[in-house]
């Protein structure tokens, strides 16, 4: 049993860390770390205890920061984290995944890198750049961003990635070759008759159901989806939700039928909580039905959004759920989402929320 819960928070102005008891009370916040760089994603590696933070600075470019003492001291590296001379330079690191001794980094413009030495040096997995669809990838509103990396729990050759707005891709050979996995997901921005292309969908988040590696959930710019085939076929689960638009998704730590989403009021009129009333939505039956969870969340004037990596669950019982807002508030639930309280406010815009994993 871990002695504390550590929330890793990425913001537009540095990384922050919140620590609380396993009752998930008495929180303390520290930061900003990483020299207050714009940080897109902060994760923890259970095996090494290292915290990694991905970002990019207008002056100094992209880097991955790391701390081996729970954030007290940090170093950074981008050794090898670059495309060949003459290609569009990497602007920022957007996503991280630590698995089986490897650390993966997704960047913008979209590409995937791997480090086998804890983020000190990086190699480019250039198979993605060689995909025949690459020349036709279009950037989303935040750029051509590789923002999600999902790793298979037992087959380290299998990785899924999400790119805005190229869609979901899967590799079965560790990143040498890739195939689009978007069948059944919609692109409402395409002309009628062309709304289910092979690639080009604007995926916002993909998460794996615990214990069911072929079941992935997806929040897309255009709908919410589930697959039972590792993404070969997706089915819509948006019925019952207040809109088809949102950014993040989070799976339950143990129950593969539970998913959390944060639908916004659509993509064209502010992208905030519907009617200014905050709610997180939960399904306990794999997306057949949905329940709005509002207790403790602001129900008046909540004109914030929640970005694509800013929703997470912990591994405690009952599970904790956490999300960070574009307005710099961090909300938490210690009872699987039934009730909520605010952990922090007045932080910079929150880009990511993750829980430091433990080996306990």
């Amino acid at each position: 049993m871990p002695e504390s819960v550590v929330i890793l928070i990425g913001t537009k102005k540095g990384a922050f860390i919140a620590e609380g008891t396993t009752e998930r009370s008495a929180w303390s916040i520290r930061g900003p770390y990483c020299d207050a760089w714009p940080i897109n994603h902060v994760i923890g590696d259970a095996a090494s205890g290292t915290i990694y933070a991905a970002g990019g600075n207008e002056w100094f470019g992209p880097a991955v920061w790391m701390s081996t003492d729970l954030g007290q001291t940090w170093s950074h590296s981008s050794d090898g984290l670059a495309y060949a001379d003459g290609e569009a330079p990497i602007q920022s690191v957007w996503s991280l995944r630590a698995v089986n001794g490897h650390l993966f980094a997704g960047v913008a413009p979209a590409g995937l890198f791997r480090s086998d030495d804890g983020g000190v040096t990086w190699v480019h997995l250039d198979g993605l750049q060689k995909h025949p669809s690459r020349a036709d990838w279009m950037p989303g509103g935040a750029g051509l961003v590789l923002h999600h990396i999902v790793a298979h729990p037992s087959d380290e050759k299998q990785i899924w990635i999400g790119i805005s707005a190229a869609g979901v891709f899967h590799t079965a050979d560790g990143g040498k070759t890739w195939e689009p996995r978007n069948k059944g997901t919609r692109n409402d921005f395409a002309p009628e008759g062309q709304r289910y292309p092979e690639f080009g969908q604007c995926v916002h988040a993909i998460v794996m159901a615990p214990g069911v590696p072929d079941r992935l959930y997806q929040q897309n710019h255009c709908g919410m989806y589930v697959t039972e085939s590792g993404g070969r076929e997706w089915e819509s689960i948006e019925t019952g939700l207040p809109s088809t638009f949102g950014f993040p998704a989070a799976a339950h730590p143990r129950d593969p039928d539970i998913l959390y989403l944060l639908p916004l009021n659509g993509d064209s009129i502010g992208r905030f909580m519907p009617d200014g009333q905050a709610a997180i939505w939960r399904t306990t039956d794999r997306g057949k039905t949905w329940q709005a969870l509002r207790t403790g969340l602001p129900q008046d004037g909540a004109f914030f959004g929640v970005l694509r990596q800013a929703l997470a669950t912990d591994s405690l019982t009952p599970a904790g759920v956490y999300f960070g807002t574009s307005s710099g508030s961090l909300f938490a639930s210690a009872d699987e989402g039934d009730s909520w309280f605010r952990v922090a406010e007045h932080l910079p815009t929150i880009t990511s929320v993750e829980i430091m994993p433990t080996n306990a």
């Binding site: 020299d35 207008e58 002056w59 100094f60 470019g61 880097a63 950074h76 590296s77 981008s78 050794d79 984290l81 670059a82 495309y83 060949a84 001379d85 003459g86 290609e87 330079p89 990497i90």
Partner: protein
């Protein structure tokens, strides 16, 4: 009265670095003397002393980063700008951000 060229034939220049990149490289000096033919070579020398510094100041365009300015004797320089012996090189962070 020209300054003497170093025994290796390399121009020797003074390089002044601002606080923001120095914070990223603990122990780095703000005012250093470096021998190099060009700005690009100068960044390589800085990178040898403080690994990773070149990536912070130049990208793979290849070019000096868009929001970094390097001035050689008062003139804004590019990677290929030659250095002359005795030059003063200032690395500056441009106004940027929000």
């Amino acid at each position: 009265m020209s300054e003497s060229v170093t025994p290796e034939g390399l121009p020797s220049v003074r390089v002044v670095l601002p606080a923001p990149p120095l914070r990223l490289f603990p122990g780095a000096a703000a005012d250093v003397r470096i021998q190099a033919y060009t700005v690009s070579d100068m960044l390589d020398v800085l990178n040898q002393r403080w690994p990773g510094m070149r990536d912070r100041l130049a990208d793979t365009s290849p070019a000096v980063r868009r929001h970094i300015n390097i001035f050689v004797d008062g003139q804004r320089a590019q990677l290929q700008t030659p250095l002359v012996d005795g030059a003063d090189v200032y690395v500056l962070t441009a106004m940027s951000g929000g």
